[in-house]
């Protein structure tokens, strides 16, 4: 923890990320307007610091006259929620499958690992697109699509670290003391495999936010009128000349959030794995 705080970049990133989380949690109270309410008489109002801006809409409005600040705040909720849910949905089965594969090397492991190889044969975003093609777009399906792409990474990671731990004396001791397989898996081995898993969860959280936005941008993610950063950008494309703020602001939100999470992940990795610190 000390090492994490000592890393200035990671610490600032933590503060930024905390601010994003707070903004998302408090969105209903912070947002000046309903994010889907359309003020038809104020379409494409610039932000308040530009000529023609209105105090009523601090960051301006979009092409349908919706308050951009409110949409960005509620958009943070969607991005963070999909990020957390998809990480959990990949992490928990990933841990179980990885441990099971490590404990049953004869039959289960090759089977599980071959299936994971197939999933790994497609780059993340394309796999997500494939899943969306089958399931259809939407918030929950975005979560599933991203989780499917992240799953093989966790399975491989957990299996690898569990295999390394299985040969250690403390595991043998525990086994001789009569611990059952489940207890060995989750109580003895798992806690010692968690450090790399936590780091990788942080990094896959940031790529989940990026993929959510990418799917939204392609029209395959969260659907209108729900505010989501990626789909906001895709709608903004047509107004790139007249209203640059509808393009810059959602993109900046994505960039700042992803950057903060990545820096936190780097800091965590350095703190948890001293070998990599100088890299």
């Amino acid at each position: 923890m000390k090492a994490f705080i000592a890393n200035r970049g990671a610490f600032i990133a933590l503060l930024v990320f905390a601010a994003v989380v707070l903004a998302a949690l408090l969105a209903p109270w912070l947002a000046p307007h309903d994010p889907v309410q359309q003020f038809r008489e104020h379409m494409l109002t610039p932000p308040v610091w530009q000529a023609g801006g209105l105090a009523q809409f601090p960051l301006g409005t979009d092409e349908l006259g919706r308050c951009l600040l409110s949409r960005l705040l509620f958009g943070a909720r969607v991005s963070l929620m999909i990020g957390v849910l998809s990480v959990l949905l990949a992490l928990l089965p990933g841990i179980v499958l990885g441990l099971v594969a490590a404990f049953h090397p004869r039959w289960v492991s090759p089977l599980v690992m071959r299936v994971m190889d197939v999933l790994l044969a497609l780059p993340g975003l394309l796999l997500a697109i494939g899943v969306i093609t089958i399931l259809g777009p939407g918030l929950i399906n975005t979560v599933i699509a991203i989780a499917v792409g992240a799953l093989p990474g966790y399975v491989r990671l957990v299996r690898g670290s569990a295999l390394a731990e299985l040969g250690r004396d403390y595991v043998t001791a525990s086994r001789l003391a009569g611990a059952g397989t489940l207890r060995l898996m989750f109580d003895t081995v798992l806690p010692n495999c968690l450090a790399p898993v936590i780091v990788s969860a942080t990094l896959s959280f940031s790529s989940a936010i990026l993929e959510t936005a990418a799917l939204g941008f392609l029209g395959l993610g969260v659907q209108a009128p729900q505010p989501e950063w990626g789909s906001m950008l895709s709608a903004a494309r047509d107004y790139i000349e007249r209203a640059p703020w509808v393009v810059t602001l959602p993109g900046l939100s994505i960039l700042v959030t992803v950057l903060a999470v990545n820096l936190m992940g780097d800091g965590l990795r350095d703190a948890l794995d001293p070998k990599l610190r100088q890299a």
């Binding site: 690992m113 071959r114 299936v115 190889d117 197939v118 044969a121 497609l122 780059p123 993340g124 975003l125 394309l126 697109i129 494939g130 969306i132 093609t133 089958i134 259809g136 940031s206 990026l210 936005a213 990418a214 941008f217 392609l218 029209g219 395959l220 990626g230 950008l233 895709s234 903004a236 494309r237 790139i240 000349e241 640059p244 393009v247 810059t248 959602p250 993109g251 994505i254 960039l255 992803v258 950057l259 990545n262 820096l263 100088q278 890299a279």
Partner: protein, 341 residues
């Protein structure tokens, strides 16, 4: 080396079958009647419906359908687009060079900038230059590609009017299809200015797509170089009186290349994903845009083929990367034959 290649190919067979199974399942897993989904709004009488089912082989039992599908694939038959009625393979042949041209330029750009920047940052570790490169690389690594594309369009196409917004070449040029690579075809054609137009169309998309790989390559090069710079053989090389350039390039970079090649292989995955986004932003007629358009039009044979082809490309590139290890690091030639597990 040849034996190594065969061994590697053998381990890919189960994955390959799995990928074809996924592509096969894709059309069957879509909820609802596949024919009705594909036909869309149009009404079909039962006889037409049955005829279509039969033509697509959907009336056979599933295992038979799968083996038929494998048989078609073996003959290079990827099915027929529902929209254009063209064989998917023919469309692919035209679009694939566009994606290769884009992704290749992006990767080249990423290497040409990422490698020297990473090396220089490692040599000047701790300096303002190092910090600047690392800060840029950190931001670049977190960049939402699709937004980055829009920002660059705003700056260079809309603002400065230096580059065109979309497509591969100005509409005033009629360049005949030879290789499919616009830079090559434009140079071969006798139209004045065509090559320049093609280059201008390529610059922004390549920069956008190359940004993340460049950031990753710069970071990896820096840390690999730092690792290598500490080694004893580097001190020996310097002590021998070799020129600094030779020490850094011959003794340093060569040994730092192993992790860089690994990262390069991983980046190809993000290039394929990024190509989908970049092609969509710049209306670049490649396989990424083809795939997204096909999903919007419910042209499922194209989607199926697009996903399958992407997987094959990705697997192929990973295979090449694995083989490159052997070239970069002779010590690993023996180890690679063993299963990764």
């Amino acid at each position: 080396m040849f034996r190594l290649l065969l061994q590697k190919l053998a381990t890919l067979v189960p994955t390959l079958l799995g990928v074809t199974l996924v592509a096969f399942a894709l059309i069957r897993l879509i909820p609802g009647d596949p024919i009705e989904i594909m036909v869309g709004e149009r009404r079909l009488d039962p006889a037409q419906h049955a005829a279509l089912m039969k033509r697509m082989g959907l009336d056979q039992p599933l295992p038979t359908q799968y083996f038929n599908y494998l048989g078609q694939l073996a003959q290079g038959d990827l099915g027929q687009s529902l929209v254009t009625r063209e064989p998917v393979v023919e469309e692919f042949k035209v679009l694939f060079p566009a994606t290769v041209e884009l992704a290749g330029s992006a990767l080249l750009l990423a290497l040409l900038l990422g490698l020297p920047l990473g090396m220089a940052a490692a040599l000047k570790r701790g300096s303002w230059f190092d910090q600047l490169v690392m800060a840029t690389a950190t931001v670049g690594n977190s960049m939402p590609v699709f937004w980055w594309g829009l920002v660059l369009i705003m700056a260079f196409s809309v603002g400065l009017e230096w580059t065109p917004v979309s497509g591969r070449i100005g509409i005033e040029y009629d360049v005949p299809f030879v290789s499919g690579f616009m830079l090559v075809d434009a140079a071969l054609s006798d139209e004045a200015g065509a090559w320049w137009s093609a280059l201008l169309h390529l610059v922004l998309p390549a920069v956008v797509l190359g940004t993340i790989p460049m950031a990753v390559i710069a970071r990896m090069t820096r840390s690999a170089m730092l690792e290598v710079l500490r080694e004893d053989y580097m001190r020996t090389a310097r002590a021998k009186g070799l020129s600094p350039a030779r020490v850094v390039l011959h003794h340093g970079l060569r040994n730092a290349l192993i992790p860089i090649v690994t990262v390069l292989g991983l980046q190809v995955g993000s290039l394929l994903g990024g190509a989908v986004l970049t092609e969509t932003i710049f209306s670049w007629p490649g396989i990424g845009k083809w795939l997204i358009d096909a999903i919007a039009r419910r042209d499922y044979p194209v989607v199926q083929a697009g996903i399958l082809i992407s997987a094959l490309i990705f697997m192929g590139v990973n295979l090449v990367v694995d083989l490159l290890y052997g070239v970069v690091n002779p010590r690993m030639r023996g180890e690679l034959g063993k299963d990764k597990e």
